[in-house]
């Protein structure tokens, strides 16, 4: 639920408690944030802080629900998850995030493309990176030049389309 619940599922019963902790934390955050808003309820009686508090208490209630079901049932085990492909894709997304500005859309997205292809079994990085950059470059040309979407340009884009 919350990104803190990054367990691998080795102990399925534990999952419910981790989710419960995440929900309770999020709920507490909402209740706190809702209550520090100066609440001028006006005619309605509830103002800007009302909804955060309501959703916050709802999340706390759901956290309690998770604890109750976690104690009563054991969660169904799910299939063994392969961590390497997941990490490869996340690495690709992170690379794109950090390299988008300095290297431009085509190269950064080409890296994401290659990482994703690697996650699905195409491990020849030289080949997939070249295909990825080429593909991303075509996409850049189509969307930035033709459809006027504003994509970050790098050296490659400026070289060809002249900035």
């Amino acid at each position: 639920m919350n990104q803190v619940s990054g367990e691998t599922g080795r102990r399925p019963v534990g999952a419910a408690f981790i989710v419960a902790a995440g929900l309770a934390a999020l709920g507490a955050l909402l209740i706190w944030q809702g209550s520090i808003i100066p609440d001028k309820g006006g005619y309605a009686g509830i103002g800007s802080g009302g909804m955060p508090k309501f959703v916050g208490w709802g999340l706390v209630a759901l956290a309690i629900g998770h604890i109750v079901t976690g104690l009563r049932h054991s969660a169904q085990p799910h299939d063994q998850q392969m961590l390497v492909p997941v990490l490869l894709i996340i690495t690709g997304l992170a690379l794109q995030l950090f390299l988008l500005k300095p290297l431009g859309f085509s190269v950064a997205s080409g890296l994401l493309f290659a990482c994703t292809a690697a996650a699905f079994g195409k491990r020849n990085l030289v080949l997939t990176l070249l295909i990825g950059i080429g593909f991303a470059f075509v996409v850049y040309g189509l969307f930035d030049q033709l459809l006027r979407l504003n994509l970050p340009a790098g050296l490659l884009e400026n070289l060809i389309f002249g900035g």
């Binding site: 999020l26 699905f120 996409v139 994509l151």
Partner: protein, 504 residues
């Protein structure tokens, strides 16, 4: 002016060559994403939103509707030939359709799905045209409390009524509601939960969340399952149906339409629920019940008709009330808002050209889809042979393209990544995705209606149940919440778990 004249006027808009082009792009894209497993209509519309920002509003919305319809057609192809549903509303189609394909009757299965979709799409779109003006009249007497009640009903049906656990559905919904609170409060201008980060003041983009949950989350999930190879069944022989196929199919098509349209039109869940109910009905009414589970043609014809009819039905609350009841409809609503249009009774008065052009385009789109899906079916099947590394690498590239196009900030891309991981973990532990998206877009609307209603009544909470309509809808919502709860407690939750709504 009667509905008929309005529809004719709409046709004159829809037959404009540029609009026709948008419709063609929409149905082709829709069929393609329907056929491809892993991407559905909600994601595709979300990806296209930023791209269409500078384009013609009417054309773009017609394209979105074309995608929704097209995906309902295309999904059946994957279900029948691959036994993996191309989109969630085609899960039941796989039950009988894939059995037929294994028995070498894939052709007739595809044909009955396509023609059934056509019949249902046509009838349901006409029903939409004739029903919408009446709902608009009804909507005019709706005040904030009625809208609030309707939204509560939509919340319950999308999260708690179906699926394997009300707890998980509600958890998804509340996470969506929590995310919806980030940003500036629409009524008072108060910044909430933005923690001093300026990018958060705008709130969380529906498109970012939808793309992250559906595209990134799905890619992570599929990648984590390791390498598997699905077997595509070749279409053997002709796609032509025999006389017996026809006589067994047409009643199923009509029944599917009759079940699907009302389900879509009421805030009672989307196309997947309609197709499950239709499957159940066909099993009961069939004269060949022993064939069910071994490739009964009714089991393909009915659900496929039902999911198309439900897609058309979903447009009734969306266009007339501005109320999205599925993830795809929620993102289409974001599409309307992107062009400064607010669906609802007023839209019928201020932009009749657009509304009726859209409805008329759907009729034309149906004809296009029949052509695309019957004679050209073999082309679509080729899409299934795209190797998965390229397919998912491409999907992720386009997924990030949409976000980068709107806002190339590290914050936005970081959110895409975090929500993507969240989407993966939610899938892994069986939490539904659609309630998060619906909660994000309907949450602020429900809050505003609630506070308006309370303002009008000067803080008196009983105002919420002071009219029969509002009280009735809230009662319905309570029933939709309690009855499944009781059913689950009495061990009948299996049926509900099967009707789980995933995406549309």
């Amino acid at each position: 002016m009667g509905t008929f004249e309005l529809l004719l006027q709409g046709l004159s808009v829809a037959l404009d060559p540029v609009i026709l082009l948008y419709a063609v792009i929409g149905v082709v894209l829709g069929t393609a994403v329907g056929v491809l497993p892993g991407i559905g209509p909600a994601l595709t519309v979300a990806l296209l939103l930023p791209v269409t920002y500078g384009l013609d509003p009417a054309g773009s919305l017609i394209m979105f509707a074309g995608i929704y319809y097209g995906a309902m057609y295309g999904g059946s192809t994957t279900s029948i030939l691959l036994n993996t549903p191309g989109e969630s509303a085609s899960i039941v189609t796989a039950l009988e359709g894939n059995k037929m394909a294994r028995a070498g009757r894939g052709g007739p299965a595809l044909a009955t799905a396509a023609i059934g979709s056509f019949v249902a799409g046509l009838l349901a779109t006409l029903a939409l045209a004739f029903l919408a003006p009446h709902v608009v009249k009804l909507a005019l007497v709706f005040g904030p409390r009625e809208y609030f009640a309707l939204m509560v009903l939509a919340f319950v049906t999308v999260s708690a009524a179906f699926g394997d656990s009300a707890l998980k559905g509600l958890t998804s919904l509340f996470v969506g509601l929590a995310l919806a609170l980030v940003g500036i409060d629409g009524l008072t201008g108060q910044a909430r939960l933005s923690f001093g980060v300026p990018q958060l003041l705008d709130g969380i983009e529906v498109t970012t969340l939808a793309v992250a949950m559906f595209a990134v989350g799905e890619a992570l999930f599929v990648a984590a399952q390791g390498l598997r190879v699905d077997k595509v069944h070749e279409i053997k022989g002709s796609v032509r149906m025999t006389g017996q196929d026809w006589s067994r199919s047409w009643r199923a098509w009509l029944r599917g339409t009759a079940i699907g349209f009302p389900i879509g039109a009421m805030p009672a869940g989307g196309a997947d629920i309609a197709s499950f109910l239709s499957y159940g009905a066909e099993k009961r009414f069939s004269r060949y019940p022993q064939e069910f589970g071994h490739g009964a043609i009714e089991g393909v014809a009915g659900p496929e008709a039902a999911n198309n009819a439900a897609a058309a039905g979903t447009l009734v609350p969306l266009l007339t009330l501005g109320l999205p009841t599925t993830a795809t409809a929620a993102i289409m609503l974001a599409g309307f808002q992107q062009f400064g249009l607010q669906p609802g009774p007023l839209l019928f008065a201020t932009s009749p050209q657009l509304v009726w052009g859209l409805i008329a385009s759907l009729l034309i789109a149906n004809v296009m889809l029949l052509v695309l899906n019957l004679p050209l079916i073999r082309l679509w099947v080729k899409l299934l042979s795209i190797p998965r590394p390229w397919l998912y690498a491409g999907i992720l590239l386009f997924a990030t393209l949409g976000t980068i196009g709107v806002n190339p900030s590290p914050v936005e891309l970081g959110m895409l990544m975090i929500f993507g991981i969240m989407g993966y973990l939610m899938r892994l532990h069986g939490y539904p995705i659609a309630p998060v998206v619906v909660g994000l877009i309907l949450g602020p609307m429900a809050e505003q209606q609630l506070r308006r209603a309370l303002s009008i009544a000067q803080g008196d909470w009983t105002t919420l149940i002071s009219t029969p309509v509002a009280a009735g809808i809230l009662l319905l919502a309570a029933i939709a919440f309690v009855v499944p709860l009781v059913l689950r407690l009495r061990g009948k939750g299996k049926i509900l778990a099967q009707i789980a709504g995933e995406e549309d």
